[in-house]
Symmetry: C2
Subunit: 239 residues, 2 copies
């Protein structure tokens, strides 16, 4: 089963694929009247069929809404901007495969790169990853925010969303793991620091805002690897 | 603490760094007589100091063998060759960070690329990853082998090394997870298939050779992500 992505899908309407999606249809040798699955990235799964081909375009008639899989909980990650953008792109792909709902690039004291230009362009990576892994949910990449603003927002969301808030910190005084406190199928937010970690001041700020300090492992992991490790730990607990 | 890598280290001898390692020393602003740590990638940790600089070279006098950390168990992975070599390079880096001892690229029925040229060149990635994560063990990349030969060898090693042998397979009849059977701090070998997985024949061949079938998760993961996921699961169990 292959799932195609289109932003706005309406029943009994025609969708036109060109460029990448057109090439993908051709590569998969999908013919006229063949059925395909579609998602709008918000959990909806649709069925449609190829109604026509024209010059470098393919027309899809959407005839059925199959289901909407509303997630029972959300997984949110705030991660320091990574200087090497190929590592950030890799993180986006892998976190989407493994499962994440919201990704927020953050600026901390030790974050070297302070901005990400044109964040929307990274949506392409997410779309490609949800197609690859047959998912109907496209994670949301938020705009870059400052560390303290991210923590403040998470503090407010904690009660509203009944969510666990964690800060990954190798010098964590609690020295506990996520699995010690996290309850299966609960919403969660984790914040991951840059190379060099969080400053003591940053760490204490999060603790004051009711974050739980967690350690991922004894190994020294790069920022993007830490992010993937913690998302994978959640996947294993919730599988 | 920064660890530098050099293949043959002897006490009371001088090592000469040039090229990459020289640049690294300069970048870290290490001066004459400053101490540095060294490893030969076999678990040995040495201490030395910068005895001199000359034109694009730095001389390190090795004065102390600090320790040898012999691993209590080994982690071995056989993974289908990945067509996209940047994904393979990425797998090498991340598996080294997370922890692996032997990596064997294998050829299965659905493996698209049948060979890897000049496998030694990938050692650079491993060395860079052990330095980054302050490890003293450099994983070993074996030459490419055929699936059945890999399984046969693992079958022989199973008793000799008292090791758990697993095959990751989404259609695994056992439908069990690695954590259901794996015992903490034991040697382990896992085989990961290509996109499209193993054929039924391949899967049954491994089962006949006493492999345990395991499922990683419900998500559809790429080959390299599956490999990382299973290594991370081991890291979390053994932490």
């Amino acid at each position: 089963m292959n799932i195609f992505y289109f932003k706005n899908i309406k029943i009994n309407n025609i969708i036109i694929f060109d460029k990448e999606e057109y090439k993908h249809i051709i590569a998969l040798r999908i013919n006229k009247y063949d059925s395909i699955y579609l998602t709008d990235g918000t959990g909806n799964l649709y069925k449609g069929y190829v109604s026509d081909f024209s010059f470098k375009k393919v027309y899809i008639y959407v005839d059925k809404h199959i289901k909407n899989c509303k997630p029972k909980y959300t997984i949110n990650i705030g991660i320091s901007i990574i200087k090497n953008m190929s590592r950030f792109r890799w993180f986006l792909e892998k976190s989407t495969e493994i499962g994440v709902n919201n990704i927020t690039p953050i600026i901390t004291d030790y974050t070297q790169l302070k901005t990400i230009n044109n964040i929307d362009k990274y949506n392409k990576i997410l779309i490609s990853a949800i197609k690859q892994s047959n998912q109907t949910f496209k994670p949301h990449i938020n705009n870059v925010v400052k560390y303290q603003d991210f923590i403040d927002q998470a503090f407010n969301d904690q009660i509203k969303n009944n969510q666990f808030n964690y800060i990954a910190h190798n010098k964590s005084i609690e020295n506990s793991y996520l699995s010690d406190t996290y309850q299966k199928n609960s919403s969660v937010l984790i914040v991951i620091g840059p190379e060099g970690g969080f400053t003591d001041k940053e760490y204490l700020y999060a603790i004051k805002k009711k974050f739980l300090g967690i350690k991922i492992c004894n190994n020294i992991l790069r920022t993007e690897t830490s992010g993937i490790a913690v998302l994978l730990e959640l996947l294993l607990i919730n599988r």
